[in-house]
């Protein structure tokens, strides 16, 4: 579904991504781990062109997303993203947060979008918050709203950029639980996270990105029980 070819990204002289070639299949759940500053978030943000690669290619269903001929906005409608800091729209109610994109982009009518928003809210047990504003919610609730806001666009793949890193520990569980449900429903997911338990349980494949390259990747079992790369061994010994 998503292919990156020799992806490179530099900020000035500092090269963050040093050539990443990866392929993410439909239905796959890929978890990316790595130390901070390793380039894992940058890689994820390149996948929907929030960061513009310095060189290399990203193909979404065979289309080069950086090609001006392809409408990146149309592609982004199909590539949902969930951020570390939720980035809910503070001036809109929860329901409006969910419905604004599908309505303004002409994908759903106001009535259809409202109905869908309520369905999604019911699914996560927050339908009573429909008319509330983001500031009135807890971190875990905000992040779950952010996830269903992305879902309201019917995306084909969801990108998660450290979705639980800004949460109080007791709220991490509810967000991971929702992500697990999505995974079980067959959603294609790329998740940058420090939650090793989630990686072990949900991922089809775990990537270790360090110093701008994928240093090792494997099924979660092999990845965690039998790491090969010395940097990965060191990293796992610190975080597990």
């Amino acid at each position: 579904m998503i292919v990156s070819n020799n992806l490179r990204k530099s900020y000035g002289k500092h090269e963050v991504l040093k050539g990443i070639s990866e392929k993410i299949e439909k239905g796959e759940k890929v978890v990316i781990i790595g130390p901070s500053g390793s380039g894992k978030s940058t890689f994820l943000r390149c996948l929907n062109l929030l960061e513009i690669p310095t060189s290399g290619q990203i193909l979404f269903k065979g289309e080069d997303i950086a090609d001006p001929k392809n409408n990146i906005n149309k592609i982004r409608q199909k590539v949902g993203m969930v951020f570390q800091h939720f980035n809910l729209f503070p001036h809109l109610t929860i329901k409006e947060n969910i419905t604004i994109a599908p309505v303004k982009l002409g994908i759903l009518t106001k009535e259809e979008a409202d109905k869908k928003a309520i369905e999604l809210l019911r699914r996560i047990g927050l339908e009573d918050k429909a008319e509330a504003y983001p500031k009135q919610l807890s971190g875990g609730q905000k992040q779950r709203i952010a996830i269903i806001r992305a879902l309201a666009m019917n995306p084909e793949v969801l990108l998660f950029d450290e979705p639980t890193s800004a949460l109080d520990p007791e709220m991490v569980g509810e967000v991971l639980e929702l992500m697990k449900e999505l995974a079980e429903d067959g959603m294609t997911m790329v998740v940058v996270t420090h939650e090793m338990g989630f990686a072990r349980e949900v991922a089809n494949r775990v990537l270790f990105i360090d110093e701008g390259i994928v240093k090792e990747q494997n099924t979660p079992d092999e990845f965690f029980t039998n790491p090969q790369n010395p940097r990965l061994k060191e990293f796992l010994s610190k975080v597990l």
Binding site: F89, P90, L92, K104, L105, Y133, K135, A146
Partner: protein
């Protein structure tokens, strides 16, 4: 004794009476006030249109070399407007654009003050836009909005809310600044007061009266803005 006090009071009141009541003079103030209000209202509207446009252009082209000339134009406009006296700008714009003597004075005033105000509003709004967290733009874009849609639906509503006190302040400043509109032959409140003073051989009293009008106007407006801000603050609780 009592008569003495009474005459002191009448001595104090009489000039105000003379400057306000005979020959329906109060109507002149009210007409002038109406002109001032209309000019201020349309000028701030024009100022906001210019200001938002320039602010969005400046923020948008900030890192795009191809459109740098647009930013240069905006910067030149802001520099000139903020760097030269308002009264000179009025005279220049008036003589440049409104050479026909029978042009609508409200239009003249509104355009002149609007062009001036636009420069200040632009900087206020730019600050407002930059105060919105960059994650908001990313979230909007990641949902499939293009840049201008994200600006319109996500960024600007938050930016405007953030700068509303500053915009209100600008409106108050603008209302008071319109007092120099007389130099371009607009009969606003200040001009009305001066005219009455000339007819009445008492310059000072009509000016006091005009000042009182401005003061009441500004106080009322401050109150109104306060209410409006509180309305907009929902979601902040």
């Amino acid at each position: 004794m009592g008569g003495q006090y009474l005459s002191m009071v009448t001595d104090f009141i009489k000039p105000f009476y003379d400057a306000f009541i005979p020959e329906h003079r109060y109507m002149n103030y009210l007409k002038g006030l109406w002109v001032t209000l209309q000019i201020s209202f349309f000028a701030i509207l024009l100022g906001i249109v210019i200001g938002v446009t320039i602010a969005v252009i400046k923020v948008t082209v900030a890192d795009k070399k191809k459109f740098i000339w647009l930013k240069v134009i905006c910067d030149v406009y802001i520099t000139i407007i903020r760097g030269t006296p308002l009264m000179l700008q009025l005279l220049i714009i008036y003589n440049l654009i409104f050479t026909a003597r029978d042009t609508n004075e409200i239009l003249v005033g509104a355009v002149c003050f609007g062009i001036n105000s636009g420069a200040y509003v632009a900087e206020i709004i730019r600050g407002g836009i930059e105060s919105v967290d960059s994650g908001q733009m990313e979230a909007g874009r990641s949902l499939g909005f293009h840049y201008m849609q994200t600006m319109r639906y996500i960024i600007m509503p938050q930016a405007i809310k953030n700068v509303l006190p500053a915009i209100g302040n600008e409106l108050i400043v603008l209302i008071k600044e319109t007092a120099v509109a007389g130099v371009i032959a607009v009969s606003d409140l200040t001009m009305a007061a001066q005219n009455i003073g000339a007819v009445n051989y008492d310059i000072l009293t009509p000016l006091y009266i005009a000042a009182a009008f401005y003061l009441v106007l500004v106080l009322g407006l401050t109150r109104l803005l306060h209410i409006f801000e509180r309305r907009l603050a929902q979601g902040d609780r």
